[in-house]
Amino acid sequence: MRHTESDLRQFLTEFGQDPAGGEPSAHLDAIVRRGRRIRRTRRALTAGAAMAVAVTAAGLVNGLPAGPPRADKTSVAQRPADSAQVDPGPKLPASFPVVLGAEKFDLPLAYSQRFATMGVGRTVIFTPTSFSTGYKVVCDDPQAWVVIEGRGKGGEPSGTAGRCKTPVGGHHDQLSAPTDWLKHPQSLQIWVFPADASIFEAAKAVKDCKPTLKSKGCDENTVSSALRLPEVRERLSAEVGERPGNWAVGVYDRPAGAE
């Protein structure tokens, strides 16, 4: 060996000196200014990333893959974008046919929201642009059960329930929409239960599955009606839990000022 470790140590000590003899001085103000700049940049990046994640996770673009929103959380629906579909989830119809007596027209899709789990309640918020507002739920499994709850003319609960293949949805017009329909954002509460959920047992346990005018005994019409009861839904949600299952809700509306 030509040299030892202590040689190297001594060499580094000697060379680690400023050859000019002047010692570099610390500029605390400059360091702190630089630190503040780094912090601002990081915060801006974090905010930008969070916004990007939020936009993606919202998954409100019709046909785009959506991260599963958390159970029993409110989701704000967004306008569908003109982008290519990349998610093979259930496809929402582009329009909602309306027949009001002799009047027939189609409502275009205004908002949509996709979900990847079922068994829990969801709240979808949207801003109507007219009194003619329709909504429809589509599912990967047409046999899944769907319950939609909204508000009626006087603010009373109003909704529908049934197998997803029906399809399940509804429509407001000038006579049925709440008076404040256009004054602020509105919401729909939606539950989708698996096809094999114990709907009949839950309905019987809560309501004794009493026949309705449309039903003969305890049939699907009866349990559909029973699903409108919060106790039945709560019992089912507790029993089923949150499980995978794609479904989507579309809100159809006339463009603002079209009425």
Partner: protein, 166 residues
């Protein structure tokens, strides 16, 4: 926000600059490196528990490696001519040190960091591993390769390090 940061800077700035100089081999770059590291440390100062040295050194090492990767290295100016100095030359001692300095400059950033932290800063290899963020075995490997490289470097082989000792 202070919480001892100003005191830390006042006490450790010079030492940090010297370490950074051995890594970067340029005083201007070294001061910039230290200022960058201290600015990053200032951002996280309240989250640093205990001795901030390992944290600050880690920033210096990583930042230097980052800068080194971005720097163009197609042509590296040398402080000494490649010819071997005559050991009997009165100027051989200075030439030897320059050769050693040049040889250290040929080490990779990670190898240089290990050498500087261990031999200049006096850190144990375990502490070095913590600072550079790799296993003790990896540090030993880096150090071993660095020492071998220094010893087999043509400039080093020609120099007379015994004369460097004072």
């Amino acid at each position: 926000m202070d919480d001892g940061f100003a005191e830390y800077v006042a006490q450790r700035h010079l030492r940090l600059c010297r370490t950074a100089y051995l890594l970067a081999r340029d005083w201007g770059t070294a001061e910039d490196l230290v200022q960058t590291a201290l600015a990053k440390a200032w951002v996280a100062w309240r989250r640093i528990e205990g001795n901030p040295d390992p944290y600050v050194y880690r920033i210096i090492v990583n930042t230097h490696a980052s800068w080194w990767r971005r720097r163009w290295r197609g042509e590296v100016p040398a402080e000494s001519i490649p010819e071997t100095a005559d050991p009997r030359d009165p100027a051989a001692e200075v030439a030897d040190q320059a050769a050693m300095w040049s040889a250290i400059g040929t080490l990779s950033p990670r190898q240089r960091a290990v050498v500087v932290l261990h031999y200049f800063e006096g850190r144990t290899l375990t502490q070095v591993a913590d600072i550079v963020g790799c296993s003790l075995g990896a540090v030993k490997g880096q150090l071993s390769r660095a020492l071998i490289r220094l010893r087999v470097d043509p400039d080093i082989q020609a120099m007379n390090l015994e004369r460097v000792q004072r």
